[in-house]
Structures are given as C-alpha cells and as structure tokens.
C-alpha cells in the first residue's frame, strides 16, 4: 500500500464527506487536503487499506466539525448559491436531491455527520459509532430524529407545490 494508492482510492470519499457536511466546495477542498496531509504524516502507523479508509473517515469527520466550530458565526454561503461539484452519476430527481441536501445542511453538527456517513458511505450505526466515538444508541437516535424531521419538511414542501 502506497500513499498514492490510498489518495487515489479515497479522495472522492474524503472530499464528498467534507462537501456534504460543509456545503462549501472551497472549504471541503481545504479540509480534504489537510486530512491527506495528516495521513501522509501518519502513514507508517496505518495497518492496511481498510485501516486507512477508517482513519480517513474519522479524521475527515473530526476536521469538518472543527472547521464549522472555528468558523463560528462568520458569514456562510447561502445554501441556494452553492455550485454543486460534479458526480459520476446523479440518480433520482435533481430538484429533490438538492432540497434534501439543503435540509441536511440545517441539521446540527453531530446528527448531520451521522446522516452523511449513513447515506453517503452506507455505513451501519455500529461503524458510525466507532468513527464518531459515540454510543450506538445515540447514533440510532440521531438517525431516527433526523429522518423524521427531513420527511416532515419534504412532505410540507411537496404539499406547498401541490
């Protein structure tokens, strides 16, 4: 396993985690670069590709949450103004996708990261609990509450359109 292989295999994952959490392509790139720089420093301590992926998910989550906390009340980009990075394929309704991403961006930090790890990376609550160092019970509770809130808001938006 070389650094170049790990970078190539995981750069889209790291960038997307940061982007879906921060909703700011520039900030996401900055966070993702910083994460890979740290990976380079710690590379000798990693035990293989799976460990590297786990480490990257954990470091990206932590770094993205720190970024938001440090940024604090500074002006953020309006959600509608965000230029979406390209994706290999964009299944589903683009408008609904966009609306869902906007609603996820309104969630508090921890539940937002739980949602991104669950639905971007398709991770189970147990895996998310290890990455975010929180009890599985808390992960499940964040998921249930966030899903209920999103469903309600989406239903209300659709009702307004009808």
């Amino acid at each position: 396993m070389t650094f170049a292989e790990v970078l190539r295999a995981n750069q889209s994952m790291v960038f997307s985690l940061a982007f879906h959490f921060l909703r700011d392509p520039g900030a996401a790139e900055e966070v993702a670069q910083d994460v890979f720089l740290r990976l380079h420093q710690k590379f000798d301590e990693l035990e293989g590709p799976r460990h590297a992926t786990f480490w990257l998910r954990k470091a990206t989550s932590r770094r993205a949450i720190d970024y938001v906390r440090k940024r604090g009340s500074r002006a953020t980009i309006a959600l509608d103004d965000i230029a979406e990075p390209s994706s290999a394929e964009q299944p589903g309704d683009p408008l609904l996708n966009r609306r869902l991403r906007q609603l996820i961006a309104t969630l508090p930090e921890k539940p937002r990261m739980v949602m991104v790890l669950r639905y971007q990376e398709d991770l189970m609550p147990e895996e998310i609990s290890e990455i975010l160092e929180m009890p599985v019970r808390t992960v499940k509770s964040h998921l249930q509450r966030s899903l209920a809130m999103l469903r309600e808001k989406i239903d209300r938006s659709l009702g307004d359109i009808r």
Partner: protein
Amino acid sequence: MEDFERQLRNALARKQEPPTFEAKVYAAVAAQRSGRGIFWRWATEGAAVVVIASGFWMGYQHENQQRAAGEAAKARLEVALRITVTELSKIQKTVRTSTEDE
C-alpha cells in the same frame, strides 16, 4: 421509508473532487517536507552555534581561574618574602647587637 432512504442515498452520492486536488495534495506534502528540512537545518546550525559559544565561554572561565590562582600564588609569595625579610632584619639586628657588646 426505504424509498425515502434511497432518495437520501441519491442526494448524498459521492461527488468528484476538483481535477487539481491530487496535485495540490502532493504540493502540500512537498511544502511540508521542505518546511521540515528548513527547520532541521536551522536547528542544527543553532545547536552548532551554542556548542561553539559554550566552548569559548568555558575556555574564558578556565583562563580566568588560572589567572586568579596565579595572582593568589604571587600574593602568597610576596607575603612569605616580606616575612622572611622581616625575620632576616631581626636576626641581623640581634647579631649586630651581640657583636657590639663583645
């Protein structure tokens, strides 16, 4: 619920990183390496300066100590000579007195 979760997976599908991303990571790694190189060069040169300066300082201290010891020895010798001269004067005076008496 499954349909809604599928919609969420679609919405949060992975995005493509910017085309220059990989190059920027390598540039950052290289900058970090050279930064670390500069740090070690400065640290080595700094350590060399400290070693040389402490060598000079120790030499200066040693010289000072030797000079002080020499001066102390000279002072002791002067005292001893003064005592000797005084004693010799006394003896001379005694000898002269006894010769005159005879």
